[in-house]
């Protein structure tokens, strides 16, 4: 009989190995799934993981990985700080929407003025939009002790309704023949978050994501605040003795996560997406939660996890159109990644032991 025995210390080896094992397990079981669907499993896995990077059209897909990965990394970095301290902000999707609305709103208010300061102002307003939205669950938790998981999640749906409302009213394109959705910011040079080098996929959101990774790394390893965040997550009582003020930490972590999610929304609406529309949000805020955990809540890990997640999205799309795999099969495949990660994670805290069979 196999038995799980709790480790005294979480295993360092398994903590790093778990994501790798999870990816391999996903490939194997996903391959089986594809085989059952009557597709060549090796070809499918190759299409998803290899073709976007080294296939015939990699020149197009590699930049697209940055476009798809940047918002994931940016949001996940913010979330990871809170997650480490046991502060569960599940509503990044809503903060992402509100950031986009705030930032795009500023741009549209100044339309058609051309000025160098417009884009920086949009970024700031995007961050503030996300920050304020995150402050609602944060303040409710600090003042009334409400559960931030529920409040932040419910506010996503409020934000979606607000998005629909501004798409149809306040921010609607006056030259859009009555159709919902704002003007396209891609056609407004001062507001356009264009590629910095044509064809590279590098826009300001990618730059911001890289900066966020570096800053988070420094914060967690070299700064007192980072120490306090880690301590609160690992030993809440000890943290209080060490002078951590839990309420301030909640406000700070939620605020940072909200601001980064808001910025991600702004970079998206001003760049790849171009316009505020009813279904502008595409689930980045929720996927970022997977990215944060897949990356072990570690900045560098999150960067890699974000790129991996982007890879499965893009590869999954290629597999859909070139192999006729259904989109649900691809989604199951992506879901497996988190599932196996959580499963393998058990091995970080427990060890498998062969239990001696008791005399029957």
């Amino acid at each position: 009989m196999l038995k799980l025995e709790k480790r005294r210390q979480p295993s360092q080896v398994w903590a790093y190995l778990a994501p790798v094992v999870a990816v391999v397990a996903t490939m194997v079981v996903g391959g089986l799934l594809f085989a059952f669907l009557g597709k060549d499993p090796l070809l499918a896995i190759r299409t998803i993981f290899w073709d976007p990077l080294f296939g015939e059209f990699a020149f197009y897909y590699r930049p697209q990985m940055l476009v798809k990965g940047a918002p994931l990394v940016l949001i996940a970095i913010g979330l990871s700080l809170g997650f480490r301290a046991g502060i569960w902000n599940i509503g990044a999707e809503g903060q992402y929407i509100m950031g986009a609305i705030a930032g795009a709103g500023v741009a549209l208010a100044f339309y058609p003025l051309e000025a160098w300061w417009l884009f920086p102002l949009m970024v700031i307003c995007g961050a503030i939009g996300g920050l304020l939205w995150a402050m609602i669950p944060a303040a409710l938790r600090v003042i009334f002790g409400t559960n931030e998981i529920l409040v932040s999640l419910m506010l996503v749906y409020v934000a979606e309704q607000f998005l629909a409302s501004v798409s149809l009213g306040l921010l609607k394109n006056p030259e859009g023949y009555g159709f919902p959705g704002s003007r396209n910011l891609q056609q407004y040079p001062s507001a356009h978050n264009a590629e910095l080098i044509t064809g590279s996929g590098m826009h300001w959101g990618v730059v911001a994501a890289l900066i966020a990774v570096i800053m988070a790394y420094i914060l967690l390893n070299r700064h007192l605040l980072g120490f306090q965040i880690r301590l609160t997550g690992e030993a809440p009582r000890a943290a209080r003795f060490a002078g951590v003020k839990p309420k301030q930490l909640v406000l700070l972590c939620m605020g940072l996560a909200g601001a980064l999610a808001g910025m991600a929304g702004l970079f998206e609406v001003a760049g790849p997406s171009g316009r505020i529309s009813i279904d502008f949000n595409a689930g980045y805020g929720f996927t970022a939660i997977i990215v944060a955990f897949l990356g072990r809540l570690h900045p560098v890990g999150i960067l890699l996890a974000g790129l991996l997640m982007a890879l499965t999205y893009i590869g999954g799309e290629i597999a859909q159109s070139s192999m006729g795999l259904s989109s649900s099969a691809i989604q199951v495949f992506q879901g497996m990644l988190l599932f196996f990660l959580l499963m393998v994670d058990v091995l970080t805290n427990y060890r498998l032991k062969l239990a001696k069979a008791d005399a029957a």
Partner: protein, 362 residues
């Protein structure tokens, strides 16, 4: 590092298949791409596009065309990538089948001048981008006539999707024709801001039924409203996009069927023989793009005859669903006696006709 612009890369990609066109590849199949907004088994909008696409392949011949498609593509940058991917993969003509794909289609088309694009239900075109849509409001006129006769509570429910002119036209057309045969009808409208969400659609249908509606119109794509009508009993509805005949003879008493296959066949053939040209078309019952599903026995014979007469009159061009005298909701004049609405006004319709209550969300 060598700087590589996107256009150069794209040009290389386009040039590549050309270079390969030796004698051995002369019989290469034409790749036709489809981008879908929902899953291909949604029972409505997307399923009908897909079935029409399959019909197109069958008709032209599997040895001549190859179908590639991607389902459940979000409207935005993801759609742009999906289209680019198809164009890079060698698709010669790409159909993008939802309103929200309009800007992405225009963007991608600019990068692939040799690929033809066909965008459904939009208004932007380019040298290699056509727009096509169906006059669904013609079908709504027939449904409205049936509804006006069939309702006992005189309350009609309408599950509206996204407040764009296409949907507003449908509401107006259904209401005008219900009112014409039954001056006492009122219409309750619920906006869902989505084309397909079975849970929300079922909720909306139940709410409307609770408010007294015994006829449910839907401009959303799933069969959930019909299922809700069936549960409630004594409530009828109409198939949307597909025939939804599994709910016949009641609650589904008839349906508006999108029939894209003939259009797809003609456009793909045009792309193959080089006669493809950009256009903006809007076809109705007469052209066969809008079909009226079999009117079931739950409808009395004289009502059925009246509805079919209207269908035939519209098809023959003898009757236009928006014929004056008609007033706008605010009481101002819109069409004088005998005057017919022009396509420009219809294309941008953003007002209710007189008698409808509530406001179009904005």
């Amino acid at each position: 590092m060598k700087k590589r612009t996107f256009l150069k890369g794209a040009a290389a990609a386009v040039a590549l298949p050309l270079a390969m066109t030796g004698p051995a590849f002369a019989q290469e199949k034409t790749k036709v791409g489809f981008i879908y907004v929902g899953p291909i088994n949604d029972g409505g909008w997307t399923q009908h596009h897909h079935e029409s696409a399959l019909k197109m392949v069958e008709e032209i011949g599997e040895d001549k065309v190859e179908l590639v498609y991607q389902e459940s593509v979000p409207e935005g940058p993801d759609a742009e990538r999906a289209m680019t991917q198809m164009a890079l993969g060698g698709a010669k003509i790409i159909f993008t089948t939802s309103f929200g794909y309009m800007d992405p289609t225009i963007n991608v088309a600019a990068k692939f001048p040799d690929v033809k694009f066909e965008h459904a239900t939009g208004y932007k075109t380019a040298d290699n981008v056509s727009a096509y849509s169906a006059r669904f409001y013609e079908g709504r006129a027939v449904m409205g006539t049936i509804a006006g006769h069939m309702t006992k509570s005189n309350v009609l429910g309408y599950i509206a999707s996204v407040p764009i002119p296409e949907v507003v036209r449908g509401i107006n057309s259904a209401y005008i024709h219900a009112k014409k045969v039954n001056p006492d009808v009122e219409m309750k409208i619920i906006w869902l801001y989505t084309w397909m969400d079975p849970a929300k659609e079922a909720d909306a249908a139940r709410t409307l039924i609770e408010q007294g509606a015994d006829v449910i119109f839907q401009h959303t794509d799933s069969t959930a409203p019909l299922a809700a009508a069936q549960d409630a009993g004594n409530v009828i509805g109409f198939g949307q996009a597909g025939d939804m005949s599994e709910y016949a003879p009641s609650p589904r008493v008839s349906s508006i069927i999108d029939n894209w296959a003939p259009y797809y066949v003609s456009r793909v053939e045009a792309a193959m023989d080089g006669t493809w040209e950009s256009h903006n078309v809007w076809e109705g019952i007469g052209d066969g793009m809008v079909g009226i599903g079999e009117i079931s026995d739950a409808v009395p014979a004289e009502v059925k005859a009246e509805a079919e007469a209207m269908r035939d009159a519209i098809a023959a061009g003898e009757y236009h669903p928006f014929t004056g005298p008609l007033k706008k909701q605010d009481g101002s004049d819109w069409l004088a006696e005998g005057e017919v609405a022009d396509d420009g006004t219809l294309a941008g319709m953003n007002f209710y006709v007189e008698g409808l209550t509530g406001e179009i969300p904005q």
